[in-house]
């Protein structure tokens, strides 16, 4: 809780305390009623029978889901490995003093930030094979993800460089460093440090985007869930478990990003960079 939210209301007096207590009780009851109604509906439909859930503790089920998780992590990892360097390169190009280079990067970034990932994936899956561009399934998923997310990551890097105090570049020039030297020795180390939490948070987006393996039949979690439900018809159970896995991993990544943010702290002379709140949810 930040200080700003803490001072929105006064230390409560007796009347406000009573009101808070009443609203607390009412809201708890309301939330419990909603949860109860949902569980009752699931129970009526027979979705809460124990056999429907206990099956997921057996080895064959766990193996299918485990393989899916492996596929998800592989696709996410490979996307990150390619998208981060490409994003960094694009950011440098967009900050370049040469106009054609800058325009090229700006065009790329604006284009791939504005078209849906799924459309691009369908293009790689359906349209490009007609022109004899036929990638393996894994790359039909990863290449579009890299194209789209490198544009977003480039903007994150750029925000970091721009958030840095101008004095840093000027000082680097004053002591006689060349352009690349000042980037490598002065600007980039600080800029990357500044956007590190946001970059970690980008992993969440990459992980979510890998769910589109569902559309290209790449065996990640969503597709493995499809495989499982086609045989077992335990659709709700399968996808609830898969959703929980996703939420847990992403929550963990978010916590790591927040911890890094707290640890690095804010250094004087630098404005706060764009936080993940400014990032658009695309998957």
């Amino acid at each position: 809780m930040s200080t700003a939210t803490r001072v929105l209301f006064d230390a409560p007096g007796p009347r406000a305390r009573r009101r808070t207590t009443i609203l607390t009780v009412v809201s708890v009851i309301l939330v419990l009623v909603v949860i109860g109604l949902a569980l009752a509906q699931l129970g009526r439909a027979g979705q809460l029978e124990s056999y429907r859930w206990s099956a997921f503790t057996t080895a064959p089920y766990l193996k299918v889901i485990g393989n899916g998780l492996l596929g998800t992590l592989k696709a996410t990892g490979m996307s990150a490995l390619l998208a981060f360097p490409l994003g960094g390169l694009l950011a440098l190009m967009r900050l370049s003093a040469r106009r054609p280079v800058r325009w090229l990067a700006t065009g790329y970034i604006e284009l791939f930030r504005s078209i849906p990932l799924l459309l691009l994936i369908y293009a790689f899956l359906l349209a490009l094979p007609r022109y004899h561009v036929n990638l393996p399934i894994f790359w039909k998923l990863v290449v579009p993800i890299v194209l789209v997310s490198s544009a977003v990551i480039a903007e994150v890097f750029r925000a970091g460089v721009r958030a840095l105090d101008r004095g840093q570049t000027e000082a680097a020039q004053a002591i006689g460093l060349r352009y690349w030297q000042s980037l490598r020795l002065v600007v980039l180390p600080q800029a990357i440090r500044l956007v590190l939490p946001t970059l970690i948070a980008q992993l969440v987006t990459l992980l979510k985007e890998s769910t589109l393996g569902y559309a290209v039949s790449y065996p990640e979690l969503m597709k493995q869930g499809d495989f499982l439900t086609a045989r077992t018809h335990l659709l709700i159970q399968t996808y609830v478990i898969i959703a929980v896995v996703y939420v847990l991993i992403n929550f963990l990544l978010g916590q790591i990003a927040a911890a890094v943010d707290r640890r690095l702290g804010r250094r004087p002379g630098s404005r706060a960079p764009a936080t993940d709140a400014g990032m658009a949810p695309t998957a």
Binding site: S2, R44, L118, A123, T211, L235, A277
Partner: protein, 214 residues
Amino acid sequence: MHVITDNLGFLLQGVLVTLELTVLGYVGALVLGTLMAVFRVGPIPPLRVLGTVYVEFFRNIPLLSLLVLVIFGLPDAGVTIGLFASGAICLALSASAFVCEAMRGGINSVSVGQAEAARAIGLSFTQVLRFVILPQAFRTMVQPLVNVFIGVLLSSALAAAVGVPELTNRTEQLNLQYAEAVVCFVFAGVVYLAVALAAGAVGGRLEHRMAIRR
């Protein structure tokens, strides 16, 4: 090129469905997100917890996973909602978490002194928010909220994967019928690009107009 001219009505219908999904999803997200933001900064402990859990859940669940649960899962639980409505609801739910975070970020960006001064002259929690904090907070929220709009537009394409006949879905259908499919993808891409850039431009103007000149 004739693929597009022959199927212009079909494609425009898809553009319309995409825009409807986007607008409905976005408006829903604004309402839910604002509510959750008020819960999260408010004085009622269980509502704060509810807001936090809600945001962490919907921010971290992939939209596709939510869509599959709602569209294919709910009928198994005896609840049926239309395909289009399900798509709009899922978009609203997942975007509302980002709206909530944008609002909270905006509220936190207003200096503490403002809230203290407002309280010192005797305003209540709702009055502090309504008259002092939110009008100032809204300025810094414009850009993130526009980003959420573009995000909703782009993620509305995911509804294609579960069968909502919007732009991406119709492009895919045409691709199955015709040989020269790349034109359809270019058309769809240009439409998304145009809407996203227009939204960005409107956001930029809005921000410029609301900025305080010192």
